[in-house]
Point group: none
DNA sequence: CCCGACACCTGAGCA
DNA sequence: CTGCTCAGGTGTCGG
């Protein structure tokens, strides 16, 4: 009861449409002719879309927090949450982004009063997992130049982003070499198709700390060792 | 405009008011006549207020957890969160406490289901810092005997609370022996009477890390120097 | 019972 | 010093 708006909200969201990310909510709704004229395959046709911005993701962006912080400047410029009038503003909106493969990703986009920041929440973690996003990688956002304003998302691994460079140290109770290694909340070396399972990495995390080590900008105390 | 709702919630909180903590939100708003009749200075006039309870703070209470656990017995007796009817119960309430200097501290007071405990969260860490609260110190809560029910907070250092016991290791650029040594964000060897104001915490932090050093259980990188 | 989604919160760092 | 941003946290709730 406290959260009764679970799916209802989404549906209304999708139906309201408006400027904020396009009208369709499933894709292939038919009006976004320009977008679909790209050719439906994964070819990187950048002609008709302008890049909005790029963010190099932080450990938190790809970690357990399940959210991507969108730098305020870009958020307000490109993804306006109409705080005026529209009552749904406070609750966030659902935005659809198409990736290079044509797959549509729906993220919940909202503003957090407490931290005064804009975030992508629901759906983001799936993107992280499927794309194997790692801290230091870049995420780019585009918008179709056409009237539909279709949004696109794209990511690329950081150059020299060592996928696992001496980081695969067994920290927990590693029982045996297995097919699926659950590290940093991401299934590494996973078999295609085996999504959520993960061979029961129960040992509480500690993982993040190691993860953070790699990308942290402030030297903290590194070098002291 | 972006932040217009920042304090809205809090204001509403305050206004709902009634008995719980008074009406003003900035201080010196003027309606709490009983309270201001105390005399505005730091003198401990305890006549018109009854002590509710006292707690000797734990390391966690003054540490990085940013919360004070209120013993359940006292919490339920003196700070009832009316779980009934009042919708705001789940989200906690904001309570205003006046300290001996007349400064009003606003804390979020809520119940944590996970730990089945009552806590003061938001705002608490600032109090800890400004008062230089340390584990073993005592915090006392009072309520005005008057009809306004104004709440008060007060703290005193534990007797024998070794402010610096072998902790005066010169870690930083210690220039010379001085009267007031600012270490860990605390005025050590400070002159009596410099209560809330004091040097405050001006020097940008770094100090906190050292502070944490003292109480931290994990050695982190101690000894690396 | 765990995990994802969510709404909070805080402090470091910086302008 | 002040204020803002945002990385890195928290507890809660529902599935």
């Amino acid at each position: 009861m406290l959260r009764k708006h679970t799916y209802e909200e989404e549906l209304r969201q999708s139906k309201r449409g408006g400027a904020c990310g396009g009208k369709r909510h499933r894709r292939g709704n038919g009006d976004n002719i320009d977008a679909s004229s790209f050719g439906s395959e994964g070819a990187c046709d950048l002609r008709a879309r302008e890049q909005l911005f790029e963010k190099t993701v932080t450990p938190s962006d790809v970690g357990k927090l399940n959210r991507l912080v969108i730098p305020k400047q870009h958020a307000e410029k490109h993804f306006p949450i109409q705080g005026n009038g529209c009552a749904a503003a406070a609750k966030g909106v659902l935005l659809n982004f198409e990736d290079v493969g044509g797959k549509v990703w729906r993220f919940r986009y909202s503003y957090w009063n407490s931290s005064q920041s804009y975030v992508l929440t629901k759906g983001w973690s799936r993107f992280v997992k499927e794309k194997s996003l790692r801290a230091g990688d870049a995420v780019r956002f585009y918008r179709s130049a056409g009237p539909d304003g279709q949004l696109y998302i794209d990511c690329k691994a950081r150059m020299n982003n060592k996928r696992n460079n001496g980081l695969l140290i067994p920290v927990g109770p590693v029982v045996e070499p297995v097919q699926i290694v659950r590290l940093f909340g991401v299934n590494l070396l996973k078999l295609p198709g085996s999504d959520g399972v993960g061979g029961g990495c129960n040992g509480k995390r500690k993982e993040m700390e190691l993860f953070a080590l790699e990308c942290s900008k402030k030297p903290k105390i590194i070098g002291a060792l």
